[in-house]
Symmetry: C2
Subunit: 207 residues, 2 copies
């Protein structure tokens, strides 16, 4: 089977560690490309255009929307965030699996356009552990932690839309498991249409 | 996550090597149990009751049907074949993954009853290779080979109902791949309902 690149959407509760997980995955294994989002928000100190984000002006972003140049986009706190289509398509055509880190609404919009997209949901081993991690960061005031816990409860309702859940207990173990799941997911019928179609045609010819 | 046993249904073209594959899988890894079918056909020389099949009289088999003691059954060439429920349920409750080797109609009937059942389809790398293997056995007359090739063409239409396809090119590699796919498949939301429900309840309580 010729391996075709697929879009991999990683979602998960804030504090589940999906950012670190995805970063490690891309570092440890070849064949993954990390999608870089576009945004209209201001760069923070140390952020670089084309590394953390593509920083665009509002007019540029809206131009991209008009051209269908974004796979999905959303507006938070008066700023646009979105996934540029060109980079994703290019990486897929070169056989790489492209990873996006977005929330459920974006994930579902992607699944509508790419029916072979792989939706993964990263979870902590328990709610108590999630709270421990959020508190442990020591950077967030109590009300922000409460807000994140409430948001996690909402997000937990959408898990059924995902193809796999990944429990992030030990980070290094979880990276390996995530990779194994992605390898396995390449073997579904929807991700092997061409191979199946070919063998069907071949079998018809053999009759 | 507490690991729950699941039902694994393996189907595939005659000649794709699914019998050998399943046998190797059960030998190489723990935690698998092979389901033994019941049948009303006569034992062949060397076959043992409770090893190849449970050999039942027609009345015994029909009694089992009446008692809902079979997960699925079918009638071929005037003989019944079916999957006894008791053994399967017992193995699942002990946390083992139970493997059944049956064709698509049986697979779909199982999926109706066990929505977390895992349906796998074993394929040869190509139709030409399938024919080579059937001819290579040297035991089948030409018309039987033609019949199997025609049956494969029909069966190929049902592949979309399976969760994964497994290409049996090199047997040893394929056994390992099959195992990896089964491990990954344990991470779908439908196979972790209890864990997800628990974390939802826990998150609601944290609000």
């Amino acid at each position: 089977m010729k391996r075709k690149g697929i879009l991999i959407v990683v979602s998960g509760f804030s504090g589940a560690g999906k950012g670190t997980l995805v970063k490690k995955l891309v570092e440890r294994y070849d064949n993954y490309a990390l999608s870089i989002s576009a945004t209209t928000r201001q760069p923070r100190p140390g952020e670089e255009d084309g590394r953390e984000y593509f920083f665009l002006k509002k007019e540029q972003f809206e131009q991209k929307i008009a051209e269908n140049g974004l796979i999905e986009y959303a507006c938070y706190c008066d700023n646009y965030y979105g996934t540029p289509r060109e980079y994703v398509e290019q990486q897929l055509s070169e056989g790489r699996d492209v990873i996006l880190e977005i929330e459920i609404q974006g994930a579902l919009r992607i699944k509508e356009q790419y029916d072979d997209a792989l939706l993964l949901f990263v979870m902590p081993p328990s709610a108590a552990e999630l709270r421990r991690r959020l508190v442990g960061r020591g950077t967030e005031p109590e009300e922000v932690i409460e807000k994140r816990m409430r948001r996690a409860a909402e997000e937990a309702q959408g898990i059924g839309a995902y193809e796999y859940i990944v429990v992030n207990d030990d980070l290094e173990t979880c990276v390996g498991q995530l990779h194994e799941i992605i390898l396995a997911a390449h073997n579904t019928p929807v991700r092997n249409r061409e191979f199946i179609e070919n063998i069907r045609t071949e079998l018809e010819g053999e009759k």
